[in-house]
């Protein structure tokens, strides 16, 4: 009798867990408490190491497309049509020398090639060979001011509801030796699905940090007033800004 009561009460307690956890998950305050460990993880783990470099033969020749596919709006279609001749990478904000880079100017800058693993927040991993301009070099060309705290990447893709993709790194992450503005994947110029003409590569964090189709880089003191205020498109949907875990 007792045993049956015990089993019955355990089963009903478990059945109550689902609705309870779902209810709590929709409580913003509660989720903020759960999210409080993000700061701890950021401080303890950070982005201090170097992501492992792989060999040529480890590369996925067909690299899985993360996030959205090719932007469908007219502006991007025009850029595609003129093979990005009219593309300008605008770098502005809290910098000494704001500039707009053409694709050929970016190609003439020193290039870094890295064969690194892309870890998606969904759980899958793929290895790609990426080449492009180190973000550190690009920032060196524009000279961030003393009040610069974050580098915000404004992208050309939107989610269909009018929300443009964006991402951000703090200055430490932006100066990381592997933070790369990639122009090429697997020895070919980036194709539209993989973020052509310029995408970010941040191999020490999850894939959503590696924003594609970058149009504008904005150096700011705070991202609190940008879009949802959490520093990125997915961050505004509840994902952690620190994506190292």
């Amino acid at each position: 009798m007792r045993r049956r009561l015990f089993i019955a009460s355990s089963v009903s307690a478990l059945a109550g867990c689902g609705p309870l956890s779902s209810g709590l998950s929709q409580n913003e305050q509660f989720m903020r408490v759960l999210g409080s460990v993000e700061g701890l993880n950021h401080r303890l783990i950070g982005t201090r190491g170097l992501a492992r470099g792989y060999r040529e033969r480890d590369v996925d020749r067909v690299f899985r497309v993360n996030g959205f596919a090719t932007p469908s709006d007219a502006a991007y279609a025009r850029l595609l049509a003129d093979r990005f001749e009219s593309y300008r990478l605008v770098v502005e904000g809290a910098v000494e020398r704001p500039r707009a880079f053409t694709l050929s100017q970016l190609r003439r800058m020193p290039q870094q090639t890295q064969i690194t693993r892309h870890d998606c927040v969904e759980g899958w991993s793929a290895i790609g060979k990426w080449s492009g301009v180190r973000l550190d070099d690009l920032l060196g060309a524009v000279g961030p001011r003393d009040d610069a705290r974050y580098v915000v990447f404004r992208c050309m893709d939107n989610d269909g509801a009018g929300n443009l993709y964006y991402e951000s790194l703090d200055m430490h992450q932006a100066h990381h030796p592997q933070a790369l503005l990639a122009l090429r994947l697997n020895d070919a110029p980036l194709d539209p699905d993989h973020g052509a003409p310029v995408r970010l590569r941040v191999p020490t964090q999850l894939g959503y940090k590696s924003a594609k189709w970058i149009a504008r880089i904005e150096v700011v003191g705070s991202f609190a007033r940008i879009a949802g205020g959490h520093g990125g498109y997915w961050e505004d949907q509840g994902y952690e800004w620190y994506a190292g875990i």
Partner: protein, 262 residues
């Protein structure tokens, strides 16, 4: 109530009881939110990067209304249980594990990650607090399997299988209990924590040998999942033992600390 033939003993200190119940809570939340995270990419590969050629487990939905589970290349139809299941929104859809057992109880990777990363800290700190206090009080000695316990393992098993009339002599915990507590607390639980850490690209960048040790990132995900299954098996056996060995006395002792020797 049973006759109190012998005086009750104070068997579990407060910290032991508190960490025990906190673990129960954390285990369920970590399993539920872990399955939510798993659902975002319902494959397990014995490799570093994702590699279909080295796929050990795949849960999927090859067609509308059909759920399948593929283990080591063998596919089973698991509609309703795995692959095509309750989506938590009032209908069924392509979900690996049903929303009824995930946290939150609907598709929400961001939410699942928050639960998981928070309660990972709860479970780990709880383990550390328990370990330190148990080591200081000396109660670890009664729990940890020692070489002298090994010859008693089979006689104890034989007693459970009714091949022997009496159990071998032992202290508070019998040799099989010691073996399972030692395995869970000092092998499986740390393994689950460390394989979870090996999934982090930030930690991989600091301590790549850790990820390599487990065979790569996807392989670490496989070990992490396997460790979870072992913990669930322990939970099932443990709960069965409690339910069959005087559930009221056992539960009371883990709640109030007082145990009534039989």
């Amino acid at each position: 109530m049973k006759d109190a033939r012998r005086p009750a003993i104070y068997r579990y200190a407060f910290l032991t009881r508190a960490s025990h119940w906190l673990w129960v809570l954390a285990l369920f939340i970590l399993v539920g939110s872990g399955l939510q995270i798993f659902n975002a990419s319902p494959n397990l590969d014995a490799s570093d990067k994702s590699d279909p050629a080295r796929r050990v487990l795949a849960i999927g939905s090859p067609a509308e209304g059909v759920g399948t589970t593929t283990i080591f290349g063998r596919t089973f139809v698991t509609t309703g249980w795995l692959g095509w299941t309750n989506d938590g929104m009032g209908s069924r859809g392509a979900h690996a594990f049903p929303a009824t057992i995930t946290i939150p109880g609907f598709k929400d990777l961001a939410g699942g990650r928050r639960w998981h990363l928070f309660f990972a800290w709860v479970a780990a700190l709880c383990w550390l607090a328990w370990l330190v206090s148990a080591a200081i009080k000396g109660s670890l000695r009664e729990m940890v399997l020692r070489p002298s316990d090994v010859p008693k393992l089979w006689p104890m098993q034989a007693y459970y299988l009714k091949l022997r009339k009496t159990p071998p002599p032992y202290g508070i915990y019998n040799p099989l209990q010691k073996a399972s507590y030692t395995a869970v607390l000092f092998v499986i639980a740390p393994l689950v924590v460390v394989t979870g850490l090996a999934l982090s690209p930030g930690i991989d960048a600091i301590a790549n040998p850790l990820t390599v040790l487990f065979g790569g990132r996807q392989f670490a995900r496989l070990w992490h999942f396997a460790g979870m299954l072992v913990l669930l098996i322990f939970f099932a056996v443990h709960t069965f033992q409690v339910a069959t060995q005087g559930v009221v006395n056992q539960m009371r002792s883990m709640i109030t600390g007082w145990y009534q020797p039989q």
